[in-house]
Symmetry: C2
Amino acid sequence: MTDIGSIPKAAVFRLSLYLRELVKFQKTGVKTLSSAGLAAALGFTDVRVRKDLAYFGQFGYPGVGYKVDELIGELKHILGTDRTWDVVLIGCGNLGSALVAYKGFRTQGFNIVGAFDADAKKAGKALGELTIQPMTKLAETVARTGARIAMISVPADQAQAVADQAAGAGVRGILNFAPTTITTPAHVVENSVDLAIRLEQLTFQLRFLMQDSED
Amino acid sequence: MTDIGSIPKAAVFRLSLYLRELVKFQKTGVKTLSSAGLAAALGFTDVRVRKDLAYFGQFGYPGVGYKVDELIGELKHILGTDRTWDVVLIGCGNLGSALVAYKGFRTQGFNIVGAFDADAKKAGKALGELTIQPMTKLAETVARTGARIAMISVPADQAQAVADQAAGAGVRGILNFAPTTITTPAHVVENSVDLAIRLEQLTFQLRFLMQDSED
DNA sequence: GGATGTGAATGCATTCACAGCA
DNA sequence: TGCTGTGAATGCATTCACATCC
C-alpha cells in the first residue's frame, strides 16, 4: 500500500473532485475520458490530473485515456467510499438538523445512525427518522453500530468535551463544525469546517477585488 | 496596500484561525500575547505565526508580544470583517434553512438580508425572520441592499444557473455549498464547501489509520 | 497519432538562524 | 533577556519535457 505520508493533502482533495466529476460524466454516458478532458471540466491541467492519479497507481490506457467506470471504482476504493460508513451526529441544533436531512451524505455511502445532544430536554424528540439521545447513550450506540465517525455541531465551548467523549466511545474520525480548534488523541483523525471562516476568506478576497481598500 | 498575489492562501486561512483564537484570549482577559503563546493554542510554531502576520505589516512589540485588542482590530481590518457584510441566500432547503438560523455568521458581521428559492411554491413562506422570495426578485434585492455576497445551497444541477443569476445581479462573491464545480466571471470570487467531500477526506485518512487496507 | 506516466526543473511555502529592538 | 521581524536555506507541490505504450 502506498505510503500516505508522501502524498500531498491537496492531491487527495482533488481526488474527491475527480470522483465527483467522473460520476457526472458517467451519468451522461461517457465511457472513456482523457486526463485533458477531466482537467478541462475542473479548470486544471492534464498533467496535474495524471500526477495526482500516479500517486496511487496506473489506471490509464495510453492512447485511450481512462475508463470512467473503472476509474470511479478505483477512486472510491482509494478514498474509502467503496463501502458504507456509519456516522453519529453530536449536536442537534440548526446545523445538526440540516446535516441529518442532507441527502448528499447518503448517496456517498455515509449513514447517520445516531443523533445525540447534551441538552437532556431534547432527548426523545424526533430528528428526521432518528430519535435524539442523551450523551450518556453515545458509547453504547458506537459500540453497537460500529460507527467510526462523528460529526460535531455543538457550540464552541462544548466542542472539546464532546470530542473527548466521542474519542472515548471508540470513534476514530471527527468532522468538527464547531468554530473552535479541538485536539484529539493520535489515533483519532480530526477535520474542521468553520462556516463563518469560509465567508471571512471570501471577504478578504473581495476587499482586493473591489478596490475599496481605504487603508 | 500589500500585493495580494504574493500572499499564500494558507496564510490567509490561518489569519482567520488567529483571529478566532485571539477573541477567545480576549474574553479571558489576556491583554498581551506572544507569537509562541498564540502558536501553542493552535498547534503551530511561533515562527509561522510571525511570518504570517509579517505579510501584512508589523504588529508586534519586541520583548513584549502582541497587544490582543490591537491585533484583533488589525486582523479584522485585513480580513474585511471590521465592517458588516450583507449576504443573500439562494436555496432554502435543509441546508439553506440552517444557514439562515446559524448565529455564527451574525457575530462575525455577516447579515443575511434575503432568502431566495427557484421553487415558486416556497415563495412567500417564512424562513426565520425572512420571507422566501422567488428568483425573479434577486436582482432587485441585491441592488437595494447592496449585498455583495451570495451563499448558494441548491441542488448540484441548478448551481451553475443560480451562480450566473447571482453574478448578473451584481454579487461579487459566492460561497457555494452545492456539490459541483461552478465557474464565475473574473470579477466574481467563488469558494466551495462540499460537506460530503469533507467526510470523504476523513475516510481516506481513516483507512490508513485503521490499517484495514486489504489492498 | 494520441494518449499515459514520470524524472528533472521550477516555483512556492515553511523552517532555520540570527539581526534588531524594548 | 525576551521577543519580534526577516534574509537564507530547506522541503514540498506543481509544471515542464519527454520516454513509453496502444
